[in-house]
């Protein structure tokens, strides 16, 4: 008897059944079993199982393998009409379930569509260049001794000088330099204009078509100017302007071409191009390091390879150039490499990058979030379909008795789910159009990067998404139905054990709710952190300070005008606005008091300010005083530092009082420390507090005016300020922002993420709630008779509600137990590690969202179960 307990491996038998012809199967299976039993007896179970498996493999022969039945496929094809018909009828008959499924799928897929459109946009960046597969950008790697390597998208002008003669094996190259900014005078009018310097071959390598002018010579001569159509219309009012001149300061530039406007999906963007020869003529000849090997900050060099050219040779030549040039450098090396043109917009992070760039990881995260949301909707479909299998099992039974095979039933249910998801696609497309508008408006940067236009490729991807979603959602129910035993279903419909898959359904519900809770908790915690960043104590005052950006003119007159406005209490000047992301630093040398030689050197961040800056921003001086002297530019001798500087250089044993009088050499000037201020946040909260110094300058023409405003009528004050600005600068519009708004702007990326996650949280909760609602309705419906009988026997209504709710509440509790720690760890270990300073993760935020979601679910469950519990048992039981 014991021998019979040993069974051959089931999957091997499954394989045999799968491939073997039905006619041969039964006795062959019997034969193999007989041998198996013999082997178990003689050689042991392990050996017998191995032999059994090998025999199954060995029996795969031409005469045993099942023939593909063309008729089998033909029936599928013929039955499609019938599948459509039954699917349609089912959709109409079960309105609630159809509604839940279609809405859930539509909502979740609209997010998927958005992600597809985003990915499509990013992947088609720079595709409009005819030659885009063959263009490479030369990028620079800076290796300072003892410090990590930094990678730059830009490279030195020296590289371009040497390319022509020293790098064989490139077809052509061009150089671009950003940063031209001037006031263009056309006749009597003046317009501010920002332009890009571009080398002669610019139009040859890159595809920016000209509507007028000769692309090969347009950027050849110095002082040539190419305008885009938009700029041309702004400056001249028409585009027929080749040969006209535009005046910048004292120089005349000749318009040599008009280019079509730059396509949106381009990392190179310009309003106007000026021949690079101009920059060479203006700056290159002066010898102030314009073309120095280590001046690698502003130029971008693009090369093309000849047909069949190899990168290896070019790279070798570049290595040779850097080797030769590096000899002149001390304590660091600069190397060059090539970056494919197609990898620029969607590639690695490089400093000084030009144009939009997206981290590939961002795409994965977005895709992952969309996947999770769609999965949640698929869970609904799976759950509800399996749950209502009772109603459809008879149909499957009849089909099977008439002659449908398992695969036919599988096909039918897959068709149905794909049909539903295609229907959902229609709705989700409408939603997507809304979502797209919202997404583009969420942040000005987003609209700059994406267009999200429809293309054939994106539409095909949309349809593919719908089909895949349908298949994924329908797979489990289809498998479930295809395995239904026709005979037992027809004998007794209740014989089919609908609650057999209850475990799986529970897991799906828990997963859905856990995800929703993670999303909502993430949103709330993220939002409170964001608020924390905005209200963070930076160590100085930012309230009521209006920063006005200056445009290169000395602002003495404007200051006088502004000071007369009564609401402007005080004003100061600074070269930059700290704590909103930008940072400027100097390598300084420290001379202890009286010493002739420096003892230490290091990087110190800097802001150049006037004497009013410190009081307006309420920086606390722990020792010394504000700037006393009022020297002209270049003659300053005073310096205010923060406590970190004392710590970094160990000045005066870190005692602020003793630090006064020590000397720090900045940029060749020896400055004496006259004040020490309390540490404050110069960078954003992502950065640790580091050494910072304030230098003195009476006037910063490229910097900011900082106005301390005290006003009850902000609009009129702003109008007054603007009038003063217009008197001062007729060309540029005023650029004035309150400090607090600038800080908000600095964390806009974070707030955008919170908004997106918040939106996804909303969707996830909607979908999970729909699913739960469907399950509750179904469960109470199927248990209606049980409830009625219990009621007749004397059960109380609250007792019945408790009985029905119990299971669901337990599931929600499990989901919460999973979600909350996960969210906490997510923030604690991953998201907040970037930030050097942040608030503790609040328990209230973590629990708050959970409570709301739970409450929603409990109300939903409660209302449905109460309805069932209140039903009149006589009516229910009468119909039996």
């Amino acid at each position: 008897m014991k021998k019979h307990d040993h069974q051959p491996p089931g999957w091997a038998t499954g394989l045999l059944r799968w491939y073997c012809r039905p006619r041969l199967l039964e006795d062959l299976e019997g034969d193999l079993y007989e041998y198996f039993i013999r082997n178990v007896r003689d050689k042991g179970l392990r050996y017998a199982q191995l032999i059994y498996f090998l025999d199954v493999i060995k029996f795969m022969r031409p005469y045993t393998i099942r023939k593909i039945d063309p008729f089998h496929f033909l029936t599928h094809f013929m039955m499609i009409g019938s599948y459509f018909k039954t699917s349609r009828r089912n959709l109409v008959r079960n309105k609630l379930f159809s509604f839940i499924n279609i809405v859930g799928l539509a909502v979740s897929m609209s997010v998927g569509l958005l992600v597809i459109a985003i990915v499509n946009d990013l992947r088609s960046y720079d595709d409009f260049h005819r030659n885009h597969d063959n263009i490479y950008r030369i990028i620079t790697h800076n290796h300072p001794e003892g410090q990590p390597t930094a990678d730059f998208a830009s490279s030195s002008g020296r590289v371009a000088q040497r390319l022509r003669s020293d790098v064989p094996g490139i077809a052509d190259f061009t150089i671009i330099r950003n940063g031209f900014s001037g006031d263009a005078q056309v006749g009597q009018n003046t317009f501010p204009l920002e332009a890009t310097w571009a080398g002669q071959s610019f139009f040859k390598i890159l595809t920016f078509p000209l509507v007028a002018g000769d692309p090969s010579t347009a950027l050849k001569e110095p002082y040539s100017l190419v305008l885009t159509e938009k700029t041309a219309l702004k400056l001249f009012g028409n585009t027929n302007i080749v040969g006209q001149t535009v005046r910048f300061d004292t120089l005349d530039y000749q318009v040599t071409g008009v280019a079509k406007d730059v396509p949106h999906l381009s990392h190179i963007r310009f309003d106007a191009l000026i021949s690079y020869a101009t920059a060479d003529a203006l700056y290159g000849k002066k010898g102030d390091g314009f073309n120095n090997w280590d001046n690698m900050w502003s130029n971008y060099i693009y090369i093309t390879l000849p047909k069949g050219g190899s990168l290896v040779g070019v790279q070798r030549a570049l290595d040779q150039i850097s080797k030769e040039e590096n000899r002149a450098l001390q304590h660091r090396k600069i190397t060059l490499s090539l970056q494919p043109f197609n990898d620029i917009a969607l590639g690695r992070k490089l400093s000084n990058n030009m144009g939009p760039r997206t981290e590939p990881a961002t795409l994965w995260i977005l895709g992952g979030l969309a996947f999770v949301i769609i999965l949640s909707a698929c869970f609904n479909y799976t759950n509800l379909s399996v749950a209502r299998s009772l109603r459809r099992s008879r149909e499957v039974g009849v089909r099977k008795i008439i002659g449908a095979r398992g695969s036919h039933v599988l096909g039918q249910f897959m068709t149905e789910s794909v049909l539903i998801s295609l229907l959902a696609l229609l709705f989700s497309f409408a939603l997507y159009l809304l979502l797209r508008k919202e997404f583009l408006a969420i942040d000005p940067h987003v609209a700059k990067i994406f267009t999200l236009d429809l293309s054939l490729r994106s539409v095909l991807c949309f349809i593919a998404l719908a089909v895949f979603t349908g298949l994924a959602a329908g797979f489990l129910p289809a498998v479930f139905f295809s395995k239904i035993n026709a005979l037992s279903v027809m004998k007794d419909a209740s014989g089919i054990r609908i609650f057999r898959h209850i475990g799986m359904r529970r897991v799906l519900i828990v997963a859905q709710y856990a995800l929703s809770l993670i999303f909502i908790a993430t949103t709330l915690v993220g939002y409170s952190q964001y608020k924390g960043f905005l209200n963070f104590d930076l160590g100085f005052n930012t309230e009521n300070i209006l920063n006005i950006k200056l445009r290169g003119a000395d602002a003495a007159a404007l200051k006088k005008d502004l000071a007369e406005i009564p609401e402007v209490k005080q004003l100061s000047q600074s070269s930059m606005v700290p704590s909103v992301g930008s940072m400027y630093g100097f390598d300084v040398k420290y001379y202890p008091a009286g010493a002739a030689l420096p003892v230490d050197s290091g990087l110190v961040w800097v802001n150049t300010v006037d004497e009013n800056y410190v009081p307006i921003h309420k920086h606390q001086l722990v020792a010394g005083s504000n700037f006393v002297l009022r020297p002209e530019k270049g003659n300053e001798s005073e310096l205010i530092v923060n406590q970190q500087v004392l710590k970094r250089f160990n000045i005066g044993g870190r005692d602020p009082q003793k630090a006064l009088g020590h000397v720090i050499e900045v940029d060749g000037q020896k400055l004496t420390i006259v004040g020490v201020m309390r540490d404050f946040h110069y960078g954003t909260v992502e950065n640790k507090i580091e050494p910072v110094m304030f230098r003195y300058s009476k006037s910063e023409p490229q910097g900011y005016l900082n106005l301390l405003i005290s006003s009850t009528d902000l609009a009129s004050t702003m109008a007054k300020i603007e009038t003063a600005w217009k008197r001062f600068d007729k060309v540029h519009p005023i650029n004035a922002t309150f400090y607090d708004e600038q800080i908000e702007e600095a964390y806009s990326g974070f707030s955008m993420m919170v908004k997106i996650i918040g939106f996804l949280a909303f969707l996830a909760i909607c979908i999970a709630s729909l699913g739960l609602f469907g399950m509750v309705v179904f469960t109470t419906e199927t248990k209606l008779k049980e409830i009625s009988i219990r009621k007749v026997l004397g059960a109380s209504e609250p007792g019945l509600v408790y009985l029905l709710c119990r299971g669901f509440i337990t599931l929600l509790a499990i989901a919460a137990l999973i979600a909350l720690p996960v969210t906490y760890l997510l923030f604690d270990k991953i998201l907040l590690t970037r930030f050097a300073y942040h608030q503790p993760i609040g328990l209230a935020e973590l629990l708050g969202g959970t409570l709301v979601v739970m409450l929603l679910a409990v109300v939903m469950i409660g209302s449905q179960t109460a309805k069932a519990a209140r039903s009149n048992p006589a009516k229910v039981l009468k119909s039996e």
């Binding site: 019979h4 041969l24 039964e26 006795d27 062959l28 299976e29 019997g30 034969d31 193999l32 079993y33 007989e34 041998y35 039993i37 025999d55 060995k58 029996f59 022969r61 005469y63």
Partner: protein, 111 residues
Amino acid sequence: MKGTNLGEFEELVLLTIAALGLEAYSVAICDELERYTGRSAKLGVVHAVLNRLEEKGLSKSHLGDASATRGGKRKRFYEVTHAGKVALTRAKDLREAIWRDIPGFNLEGSI
């Protein structure tokens, strides 16, 4: 008469079927063959030959009753058809005709 020619192993299997009578199913045939020849007869080989004999019309088969010893699977019993009997007899006659023509001394001493 292409297709009715018997290979040596086919002939052995067909003879075993005939010898086993009503008990001729694949596992039993294998066992009998092993007993007659002293060589191990693999089920895979025998199964293929049984299938081929049936295709040639030399044997026919039917499924027997289910029994618990085989995991509830039925046995397929084989029997020799008329054509099979003819083929066996012809093969035997052929050999005997040749044996008769062998002069006695030609095989003497070689055994």
